[in-house]
Each structure stands twice: as structure tokens, then as C-alpha cells.
């Protein structure tokens, strides 16, 4: 499912990469797509709107439009904003309190609070070497207390017994006292699931919070939650001073937009991820990784790096020198560049590495092949050496001959020459501009060319 979001975003990205310049028009179009992609990942609408606003503010500014690679710059802005939204580093539980450090869990029904308590108890016992006690204040759901008792037994932590008839606040108070007596480091307090619109239950958990003054109040939320995540998170964070969020059921295939919504609405860090049935399936949350997972950017960025690595630096350098010396960029140079493209595994090979491409319909995929590049090379090779060095020689009849020789139409030859002319123009500009940043600009030139070939996906 993350696939689908990344697929959309990378499609947008690719289209942008194909452009030498970005206009406000195509930025707006791309942002619209980013918006849809986020919404489809179940990021709450208000959060999406805020995010898109921020990206837009930066995108129409200098930062993107004046950049050498505007498409890439826009992608970077989106990725930056997402990461900023998610936070950058893992935030640990703050247990620096006079023991017992009390941790209160809150959330809707079925979010996974009780399971999370058990997982957290095990995590704190095994990895943090804490002495942990758990208590259930869920006097409503049948057998909820029994469930925690069983789980506490499984993970080997102390269980403070409670009964369905008791007052939750009373249970919690007694548990704190017991925890203090038994010199426990951490007391985990499980609560009943409650709807944020249920005033009586929200008042109860407020009273509970006031009575035990927890150092950590964790909001447990199902990662598959849809748009409602924002409402719920807002109501809970208004009722309780939340200190963190636990995202559960992340081993499913949800796109996890709820993570973004909750993080944005509460402003609190996501501290843990629940990712499985077993009691050890709790992971500290690393926001940067998830932001990338949601964006699907990891793959795209590494692909860009790969392209950079595989470009024949030597030939590029030679060409650069040639251009600087004021010599003309000719069709031989163009052919070298085209060959480099195929050296990188061809377009089909590159495409495979793009996230989401595998799920494209075949009709789309079949349009993307290396035929176009091969044909261009064939056209160049059908020219005489003299023609390649001096493309101006190519008059109508020569062009017709070249077309026949390469098995193409004269129109194809004309198109190639037109592309050549554009590149040549760029190169001659470069030679006047000096060598600074030349390599980078050459890459830009290649990209421009790639975008022109019919149906070619833009290359960087």
C-alpha cells in the first residue's frame, strides 16, 4: 500500500524531472497530485492542506524556481516538509521521575492498548532493565482485566489485581501506592477504550490522570485509522496532556497516513510502533525512516545516486574540456551521451528500480523502452563521419539517405537534428560560462534531451 503513495509521488517527480524549467502552473499541478497521494494514504485533510500550503510557499519562492534542477528541488521540499512533520529522531520514554514512573495509556476501543501495555512491559523489562508493574483500569469490557493478567504472566511482570466492580480512579491510586511499596520502577496503567465524544468517559480519564500524575501519557492509535484520526487525536490531546503516541498494527499494509495526522494534530512524538502479534513486537519509532517509507523516496533517491555513479566520468570530462575550449559539440558527442544512457541498464532497467512502476499497466510500460534511444544512435551511425562532425551538411537529400540507411523516416532524422541543435546551443552557452558547475549542467542537458524523446521517461 505504501507502494501506491510512492508510485503517485514518483510519477509526479518523474514528470518534473523531465522539465528544464518549472512554471507555477506545473508546480500547482504537482502539488495537486501530492495532495491526492497523501489523502489516499489516509492522511487527514486538514493536515494535508497545511502540508501542501507549506510546500507551496517554499516552492514558488526562489528555492525551487531558481534551482538548476527544479523538479528535484521540489521533491526535496516535499520530502523535507514530511520529515519535519514526522520529526527527525526517535524520542524515548521519559522515565526520569521518582519511582514509580507512571505511564498512562489512552485511546479508542480496539486500538491495541492492552497489547501495547504488555509489549511495553516486556520492552522495559528486557531492554531497559526496569522493574515493571501493570494495572488495568478497564472495568467495562468483559474480561479486559483478565486479558492483562494473562499477558502480564506471559511477559513476567508484576500485575496489580483489579476487579470489574471497582472505580478506575481508585484502582489506579491503589496501584501507585502498591508500586511505591514494592519499589517498582515503572507502573503501566491500562485504561478502557473510549470514544472521544463520550463526555462521561473522557471525564473519567481526566480524573484518572489527575489522580496519578503520570510522567508519560501515551495515546494509542491504530495505524489503519482513516480521516477520523485527526478528530480523535485532537479530542484526546485537548482532554489530556499527551506526551507521546504509540502506533499499532503497523504490520498491516495500511499506508499509515494516520501517523502523520496524529503527529501533526497532537504535536507529540510517535514513540513506538506495534508491529505484530507477539509481545516482543514493539519497536522504537524512527520518524525519518517512516517519512521515507511513506514517500517512497528512498528508492528514487538511491536511483539518482546510481545514475550519477554510472555516468562515464571520463567521457563527460572530455566533453567538458572540449566545450570549454570552444570546440563544437557535434553528433559524435551526442551519440556518446546516448550510449551512456543505455549503459546504465537501459531505460527498462532503470524503470524497474522506480517504486511503484511494477504496478503500472502494461500499456504504459510498453511505451517505455530503449527503442527510441537505439533508433537515435542508429540514425547517427548512418551518417558519414564528416556529417557527424559538421551536421550543417545534412541537407534534404542527405537526410533522406540517412533515414533510409537507419530504417527510419526523414521526420525522425529531423527530430534528432532538432534535439541536437538545442543541445548544441546549450553547450555553446556553457563554453562562454566557464567551467564552473559544468558537469552538473551537463547532466541537466542530458535530462533535457531525455525528456524530448517521445515517451522517454525523464532522466536525471
Amino acid at each position: 500500500m505504501f507502494e501506491s503513495l510512492s508510485q503517485r509521488l514518483s510519477a509526479t517527480v518523474n514528470r518534473l524531472r523531465g522539465r528544464g524549467r518549472l512554471t507555477e502552473e506545473n508546480i500547482r499541478e504537482s502539488l495537486r497530485e501530492v495532495r491526492i497521494a497523501l489523502l489516499e494514504a489516509d492522511v487527514a485533510l486538514p493536515v494535508v492542506q497545511a502540508l501542501v500550503e507549506r510546500v507551496k510557499a517554499r516552492a514558488v519562492g526562489q528555492e525551487v524556481l531558481k534551482s538548476l534542477t527544479p523538479g528535484q528541488a521540489l521533491v526535496k521540499v516535499v520530502s523535507d516538509e514530511l520529515t519535519a512533520l514526522m520529526g527527525t529522531v526517535n524520542t524515548e520514554l521519559n522515565l526520569a521521575a521518582t519511582p514509580p514512573a507512571v505511564v498512562l495509556m489512552a485511546g479508542l476501543q480496539g486500538a491495541g492498548k492492552t497489547t501495547t501495555v504488555a509489549k511495553l512491559a516486556r520492552f522495559l523489562t528486557e531492554r531497559k532493565k526496569k522493574k515493571v508493574m501493570v494495572v488495568s483500569c478497564d472495568v467495562y469490557r468483559p474480561a479486559a482485566i483478565e486479558q492483562l493478567r494473562t499477558l502480564a504472566g506471559q511477559v513476567g511482570v508484576k500485575f496489580f489485581p483489579s476487579e470489574a466492580g471497582q472505580d478506575p480512579v481508585e484502582i489506579a491510586r491503589n496501584a501507585v501506592a502498591a508500586a511505591r511499596r514494592e519499589v517498582v520502577d515503572v507502573l503501566l496503567v491500562d485504561t478502557a477504550g473510549r470514544l472521544h465524544v463520550d463526555a462521561a468517559m473522557m471525564a473519567e480519564i481526566k480524573a484518572l490522570h489527575a489522580a496519578i500524575a503520570p510522567v508519560e501519557t501515551l495515546f494509542v492509535v491504530d495505524s489503519m485509522t482513516g480521516q477520523d484520526a485527526a478528530n480523535t487525536a485532537k479530542a484526546f490531546s485537548e482532554a489530556l496532556p499527551l506526551t507521546g503516541v504509540v502506533l499499532t498494527k503497523t504490520d498491516g499494509d495500511a499506508r499509515g497516513g494516520a501517523a502523520l495526522s496524529v503527529r501533526y494534530v497532537t504535536g507529540r512524538p510517535i514513540k513506538f510502533l506495534g508491529a505484530g502479534e507477539k509481545t516482543d513486537a514493539l519497536e522504537p519509532f524512527h520518524p525519518d525512516r517512516v517519512a521515507q517509507r511513506i514517500l517512497g523516496m528512498g528508492d528514487v533517491l538511491s536511483l539518482v545516486e546510481e545514475v550519477e555513479r554510472k555516468v562515464d566520468q571520463e567521457k563527460a570530462q572530455k566533453l567538458a574540456e572540449k566545450v570549454i575550449k570552444g570546440k563544437r559539440f557535434d553528433l559524435n558527442d551526442m551519440r556518446d551521451q546516448l550510449e551512456q544512457m543505455t549503459n546504465m541498464g537501459g531505460l527498462a532497467g532503470l524503470m524497474d528500480k522506480l517504486p511503484g512502476v511494477s504496478s503500472l499497466p502494461d500499456s504504459v510500460k510498453s511505451k517505455v523502452n530503449d527503442g527510441e534511444i537505439k533508433r537515435m544512435i542508429a540514425i547517427i551511425q548512418s551518417m558519414t563521419r564528416k556529417e557527424r562532425r559538421h551536421p550543417d551538411l545534412l541537407n534534404g537529400s542527405r537526410r533522406a539517405r540517412v533515414a533510409r540507411g537507419s530504417g527510419t523516416q526523414p521526420a525522425d532524422v529531423n527530430r534528432l537534428l532538432k534535439q541536437y541543435m538545442q543541445m548544441e546551443k546549450m553547450m555553446s552557452k556553457l563554453s562562454k560560462g566557464g567551467s564552473k558547475g559544468l558537469l552538473r549542467q551537463m547532466r541537466g542537458a542530458m535530462r533535457g534531451m531525455g525528456g524530448m524523446g517521445g515517451g522517454l521517461p525523464p532522466m536525471r
Binding site: 489523502l39 479508542l108 467495562y140 468483559p142 486479558q147 482513516g226 477520523d228 478528530n231 499499532t248
Partner: protein, 374 residues
């Protein structure tokens, strides 16, 4: 919030007092049932709960499906949450314009209807608006409502359990969607209809799940067949079917452990349960009821797809619609799978399970979002 579905205004019905004893809780249930018993009929649209306030009663009078557009919306729904939402909208957008459409789109998206579907709906309306098909904003909204109801109409097919005896219902779903609670409510519902119900505690994985079901059984005086924690789920349910046969029960409702649809091994266990049941009754399970959390977003589609593939889901229950979530993903589900939505869960009490009603549902979907989000 689907307020009009609630049997009482929130203030008079806190789920349970903070100091609620288990005993009083049961009594509370029975009380509610006493009030509720008559209207537990199928047609939700015509059964406002007696405990409703006059206003809530009023808002619930849905029109016959044939002529929804003509009759005045405001008139019919005056005083309702929907009407309030609408009037807020009318105040802001008394005219037919693109802004009104944008707001409708927002409402649909925030209800989890999905971007694509929402956009398609709104674009359709936009076209019709430009053709001057609508006299005013009200007509446009009526058209939208009609379209939404039409989409859900085909999946409003109540569950008929009279065809077999015992009628075997297998309940499946991911973790924490409310399977066990739904079973408790189903048991109550069918028992109140005078049927003999047996429950099978097939969730042998989650701690105390068996206990939880037994509690529901005790509350409703319905027998529960269980073997205990870590028993083989298929064998528990197999035993339960045998018991149901020998006791001549009308319905067997089997619980299963929640499992994420991405976990292959656990999903296979479900198909094993279905397979084993067929040894006793080739047609069992007669209904595979998949429970979906109403707060779930677009992921519900993936969930249903997987479960349907593995155990052949034949009906859906959408739970937790008593909060602010609207479960708009049912439109996507209806479009993609066309599986009947049998029930909706609207609270924690034993009687808070209603037959799905497309019109009531759509009325709940449209209002609260309007005016609520800016």
C-alpha cells in the same frame, strides 16, 4: 457523528457510571433492552427508539425512497444534526457555486469516502450544475444524497438466518475491530427474536478472549462452547457445530481471533476452520461475517479483499460508528466487492447493533462534516 442512530441523547446514557458494578451493568443492559425491544425491527428508518427525544424522533423520519429530492430537506430534517449542518452551509453558500461543491468534496473526503470517488461524485454534480439542472443548493444536495443512497442500495441486504438449522455464522476480521462485541450483540439480537443461539469461542489466541465471550454469553443467557486458551480454533468451532446440532440450536455464531490480513499463516488457519466445518455441513459456514472498524480508512478495501479471497466473506458489519468517524470507505467496498452490509455497530450496549440502512447511513455521512471542517 451518527447521532440519530443513538437510542438516547448522550447525556442521559453514559456508557456506565464510573462506579458501575458488573451486576448493575447487566441490569442496565436489560433496562435498555426493555426500552429497545420493540423497535429492534429491521427497518431502521422507521424505528426511532422510544427513548428518543422529540427532536431526535423528528429528524429520523426518512422519506420513502421514491421521492427524496422533491420534499423539502429543511422541513423534513429541521432540528437534526444534518439540518444544522446544512443550514450552516446554506448560510455560507446560499447559492449554487463551485465553493459549495468544494465544501461537499471536503465533506466526502473527510468521511473516508476516498479522493477518487469523492472527486468523481462532485465532478458529476458540477457538470449537472453547469447544465442548470438544479434550482438551488438544496436540489444539488438532494441529488448528491440520492446518488450516495443509490450506491449503497444494492448492499443493503439483511441477513436471513432462517434458511438453515443450525445457521452457522463465522465472524472474522483484523485485530480490535470489535468481533467479540459484535457477537455478543448478535447473540442478544437473535435471542430476543426467540431463536436458540450458541456461541463458539474460536479466539483461542488473544489473552482472555474466551473469558470475554463467556461474559457476553452469561449476560445474554446464551451457551458458549469453549475449550480454553491456545486450543485449536478449528476444533473448538467444529465441536460447537456438533453441539449446536445435537441441541437443535437455530444459530451458531463462531468467534475467531483477530488477524491482520497480511499474515499468511493466520489467514490459512481461517480457511482451515471453514474447511473443517464443511465436514459436518457442506454448506457451512452459511455466513462469513467480516467485521470492519468504522474508523478505518482506505485500508479496509485491502482487508476485505484478502479476507474475501481466503474465506469467502459473505457479509460485512461496520462497527464504531457512534464516534465521529463516518466509515465512508463502505462506498469503496460496495463498489469493489458488492458485499452486503448486514449490520452497523453504534455503541457498547448489547442492543447497539442495527441492521444497515443506506438512507440513514447517508444522512449521517453528509451532515456532521458540513460546517465541521474548514
Amino acid at each position: 457523528m451518527l447521532k440519530f442512530w443513538k437510542k438516547k441523547p448522550a447525556e442521559t446514557a453514559p456508557p456506565a457510571p464510573a462506579a458501575g458494578q458488573p451486576a448493575t451493568e447487566v441490569v442496565h443492559d436489560l433496562d435498555a433492552a426493555g426500552l429497545e425491544r420493540e423497535p429492534l425491527g429491521e427497518a431502521l428508518a422507521e424505528t426511532p427508539a422510544p427513548a428518543d427525544t422529540a427532536a431526535e424522533h423528528e429528524r429520523f423520519r426518512a422519506p420513502p425512497p421514491a421521492e427524496p429530492a422533491r420534499r423539502g430537506w429543511r422541513e423534513r430534517l429541521s432540528g437534526s444534526a444534518f439540518a444544522r449542518g446544512l443550514s450552516a452551509l446554506f448560510v455560507r453558500h446560499p447559492k449554487l457555486d463551485d465553493e459549495l461543491l468544494d465544501e461537499l468534496e471536503t465533506t466526502l473526503i473527510t468521511a473516508d469516502v476516498g479522493v477518487e470517488a469523492s472527486t468523481a461524485l462532485v465532478e458529476g454534480l458540477r457538470k449537472r450544475m453547469h447544465k442548470r439542472e438544479f434550482a438551488d443548493a438544496g436540489a444539488l444536495l438532494a441529488a448528491l444524497r440520492q446518488e450516495l443512497v443509490a450506491q449503497l442500495g444494492p448492499v443493503q441486504r439483511p441477513l436471513d438466518i432462517s434458511g438453515h438449522r443450525p445457521f452457522v455464522v463465522l465472524t472474522v476480521g483484523i485485530n480490535g475491530v470489535g468481533k467479540t462485541t459484535t457477537i455478543g450483540k448478535l447473540a442478544r439480537r437473535w435471542r430476543d427474536e426467540g431463536r436458540q443461539v450458541i456461541l463458539a469461542a474460536g479466539d483461542t489466541f488473544r489473552a482472555a478472549a474466551v473469558e470475554q465471550l463467556k461474559t457476553w454469553g452469561a449476560r445474554n443467557q446464551v451457551p458458549v462452547i469453549a475449550q480454553g486458551q491456545d486450543a485449536d480454533a478449528a476444533s473448538v468451532i467444529f465441536d460447537a457445530l456438533q453441539a449446536a446440532r445435537s441441541r437443535g440450536a437455530d444459530v451458531l455464531v463462531a468467534d475467531t481471533a483477530g488477524r491482520l490480513h497480511t499474515q499468511g499463516g493466520l489467514m490459512d488457519e481461517l480457511s482451515k476452520i471453514a474447511r473443517v466445518l464443511k465436514k459436518l455441513d457442506p454448506e457451512a459456514p452459511h455466513e462469513v461475517l467480516m467485521v470492519i472498524d468504522g474508523t478505518t480508512g482506505q485500508n479496509a478495501v485491502s482487508q476485505v479483499r484478502q479476507f474475501r479471497q481466503i474465506v469467502g466473506v459473505t457479509g460485512l458489519v461496520v462497527t464504531k460508528l457512534d464516534g465521529t468517524a463516518k466509515g465512508g470507505v463502505v462506498f469503496a467496498l460496495a463498489r469493489e466487492f458488492g458485499l452486503p452490509i448486514r449490520f452497523v455497530g453504534l455503541g457498547e450496549q448489547a442492543t447497539d447493533l442495527r441492521a444497515f440502512d443506506a438512507e440513514a447511513y447517508v444522512d449521517g455521512l453528509l451532515p456532521a462534516g458540513l460546517g465541521g471542517h474548514d
